[in-house]
């Protein structure tokens, strides 16, 4: 498995330190602008289209009598905040995951997060937990326990390597997916609730959900940024990283903790949203290059913008119905991802 790192050009070969890349800062600003635009869209567009002025008033200067106030403050604002949080989380988690496994097709699901959360949700439903705010804790606990188990197995006696991490993740995922499915076969009522969770959506989540996951995502983002310099060193290989004075195991544990917090919280809140963590780092890497100190924040912002836009599209394309965010992301994101893959120059191996 070769790192998904593109050659940075002449500076490396000549030994001259790489010059500051001015367009990275511009990329960060542009992405932040895109997120702001997506937030406005998410607040304004829907079954009832609102103009930005009405949205502005509803958010900052609420008039209880105006119909826009109720729509924005009770329906769209919680949904937008949730989309913002999970988008940031999934984007950053994807970049971290691909960096740590040195595998360009790694996404947060690889640690068993989706499988563990799914199993826990089904168990929660069977125990009689009927509301999303209730089984969010099951999902989070499931994601947490599974990824800790996967990481522990992969690092048994000798520290995790990219391959053992991915193999352990896949093995546990397959096992848990089978448990989930066999519980669902036996119980149509559980299936009925579960199928709406597993499709991955922002709709029907009230403000409480966002409030529940926000602290975990904030902590995860902080850890991700702290982990970024070490990740740059690890990209050179574990031996080189060690020679450079990195504490490899500590860096791995920190990274996995961040991924678990970010992806676990996002999955718990919205259900598995598969595509985002996979595609966003590839997009961001084109803007920033391989430096994780830039890549992680840019991935987070791109994730948030993309998730919100996908959610808005889902409200518009099949109006008056609604297409779940996870489905929109797959349908619109996959062709884009395939185009990226086809454009890639040179032979890159796994």
């Amino acid at each position: 498995m070769t790192a998904p790192i593109r050659a940075t050009g002449t500076p490396d070969r000549t030994g001259v330190p790489a010059p500051a890349r001015p367009h990275r800062g511009a990329a960060l600003v542009a992405l932040a602008g895109a997120v702001a635009l997506a937030v406005v869209l998410s607040l304004a567009v829907g079954a009832q289209a609102l103009n930005p002025v009405a949205v502005w008033h509803a958010v900052l200067d609420p008039d209880p009598a105006a119909p826009a106030t109720a729509i924005v403050r009770e329906l769209r604002l919680p949904r937008t905040i949730l989309g913002l949080l999970t988008g940031l989380a999934l984007g950053a988690a994807g970049a971290l995951m691909q960096g740590h496994t040195r595998n360009p097709i790694a996404d947060p699901g690889l640690l068993g997060i989706s499988a563990g959360a799914s199993l826990a949700v089904v168990v929660g439903i069977q125990l009689g937990v009927g509301s999303l705010t209730g089984y969010i804790w099951f999902a989070f606990a499931g994601a947490l326990l599974t990824s800790v188990a996967v990481f522990a197995i992969a690092s048994a006696r000798g520290g995790p390597t990219p391959v053992t991490l991915a193999l352990a993740g896949l093995a546990i995922s397959a096992l848990f997916a089978s448990f989930t499915q066999s519980l669902l076969i036996a119980d149509a009522a559980s299936l009925n609730m579960f199928r709406f969770w597993v499709v991955g959506s922002l709709s029907g989540r009230d403000g409480q959900v966002a409030a529940q996951v926000a602290p975990f995502i904030a902590a995860g983002l902080l850890l991700a940024l702290v982990n970024a310099p070490a990740l740059n060193a690890l990209g050179l290989g574990e031996d080189v990283a060690r020679a450079l004075g990195q504490r490899v195991l500590a860096a791995r544990v920190l990274g996995v903790t961040a991924v678990v917090l970010l992806a676990g919280a996002a999955t718990a809140a919205c259900g598995p949203i598969g595509f985002l963590g996979l595609v966003v780092p590839h997009l961001a890497r084109r803007l920033t290059g391989p430096d994780h100190r830039w890549l992680i924040p840019c991935s987070a912002l791109a994730g948030a913008a993309l998730l919100l836009v996908a959610d808005v599209l889902g409200r518009v394309v099949v109006s008056p119905g609604e297409l779940q965010t996870g489905i929109v992301l797959a349908v619109f994101g996959a062709p884009f991802f395939i185009m990226l893959v086809r454009r890639r120059r040179g032979v890159v191996q796994l």
């Binding site: 498995m1 360009p104 097709i105 197995i153 992969a154 690092s155 048994a156 006696r157 000798g158 520290g159 390597t161 391959v163 053992t164 991915a166 193999l167 352990a168 896949l170 093995a171 546990i172 397959a174 096992l175 997916a177 089978s178 448990f179 499915q181 066999s182 669902l184 076969i185 036996a186 149509a188 299936l191 009925n192 199928r195 709406f196 597993v198 499709v199 991955g200 598969g274 595509f275 996979l278 297409l323 779940q324 996870g326 489905i327 992301l329 797959a330 349908v331 994101g333 996959a334 062709p335 991802f337 395939i338 893959v341 086809r342 890639r344 032979v347 890159v348 191996q349 796994l350």
Partner: protein
């Protein structure tokens, strides 16, 4: 183990390769185990038949009652398990070698997801039309694989691009399945979920015959391509300089893997774990640098028949999906291998 790692040269026309003593030993033990599990599995059930009587019946000397239970009721199911296991394992071994990646399975070629979308679409949209489900699965699997291959084609296909494109296409197909399940009546969603679990419980001769034909045609092809696969582990330039026609060889390998997986999934639904874990187990048991094909086939058949037996014996009242059991057997074993391999490299 060093005493067993003698290699014998095998020649087959213009193809030439080596077989290690260790692979032979593993293969033989695997075959014996498969035979034992098959006989045991036929003998167990609500109407128990002694293993000796099972053998007698299989050889054509049973009573009418034994003929009914063994040949008409239990044999199709066991045969389906044997064939599905072998087909999935070989498909997985081919894919993993082709992509030079232990994580690649036929799933990343789009086969499983395409078959699932085809089958679920028929179940949800067309109502109870049992006969067309395997056909829809086959059509879905093959067309998804064709789409992946075409999208990955750019002056040739390399393994990495194929895997990435396959994952992209797979995400869309999975989203399609989720969407159909959300839209479906709960009864149809439940039926679709049963299919999505993979099962050989209802297999009859109409599922087994095409699968057996596919295996009979494709297994020799897979073994023939394995001589080329040996070269494919190297860099593309090295492979070409060894005189291999790279794109033709790749197309043959991918076609074989796809056809095997599609035939298996059409017959039994997705039993995903087998293609992923069996080649890795076979590789670690036999040594070497890539999953062995024949041993993978044997171990795949063994795993699925044993899992099917366990599913029937463990909870006779409630049919467990065979995929659950394959996962329960395969996961701990794979994890143990991982831990052991780690220990060896770190020591």
């Amino acid at each position: 183990m060093t005493a067993l790692t003698t290699h014998r040269v095998v020649r087959f026309g213009r193809f030439c390769g080596t077989v290690s003593g260790r692979s032979l030993a593993v293969g033989t033990v695997g075959l014996l185990g498969t035979a034992a599990v098959t006989v045991l599995s036929i003998s167990r059930g609500s109407f128990t038949i002694a293993p000796a009587d099972v053998l007698r019946t299989l050889l054509g000397h049973g009573t009418a009652a034994q003929d009914l239970v063994v040949l008409d009721l239990r044999l199709p199911r066991i045969l389906a398990a044997l064939l599905v296991g072998a087909a999935l394992a070989v498909s997985g071994a081919l894919t993993q070698t082709f992509a030079r990646n232990p994580l690649a399975t036929p799933d990343v070629l789009g086969v499983t997801n395409g078959a699932s979308l085809g089958a679920v679409a028929v179940i949800v949209l067309a109502g109870p039309a049992v006969r067309t489900v395997p056909l829809a699965a086959l059509a879905g699997g093959l067309s998804a694989a064709a789409l992946v291959y075409l999208l990955a084609w750019r002056r040739g296909v390399d393994g990495f691009r194929l895997v990435l494109v396959g994952i992209g296409v797979g995400e869309v197909l999975t989203a399609g399945v989720s969407w159909l399940l959300v839209r479906a009546e709960i009864v149809d969603a439940a039926r679709a979920t049963i299919w999505l679990n993979g099962s050989v419980a209802s297999a009859g001769w109409e599922q087994i015959r095409p699968l057996a034909l596919a295996l009979a045609a494709l297994l020799p092809l897979a073994v023939a391509t394995s001589f080329t696969l040996r070269a494919m582990q190297f860099d593309d330039d090295v492979v070409r300089s060894l005189g291999v026609r790279l794109q033709a060889a790749r197309l043959a390998v991918v076609l074989t893997a796809v056809a095997l997986a599609a035939a298996a999934v059409a017959a039994a639904g997705p039993i995903e774990f087998v293609a992923f874990v069996v080649p890795q187990i076979a590789l670690r048991l036999c040594g070497g640098s890539r999953p062995p094909l024949v041993v993978s086939a044997i171990l795949g058949a063994l795993l699925v028949t044993a899992a099917d037996l366990a599913a029937r014996v463990a909870l006779p009242q409630r049919e467990l999906p065979v995929g659950l059991i394959t996962a329960m057997i395969g996961t701990p074993y794979l994890l143990w291998l991982l831990v052991r391999a780690n220990r060896r490299t770190s020591a």
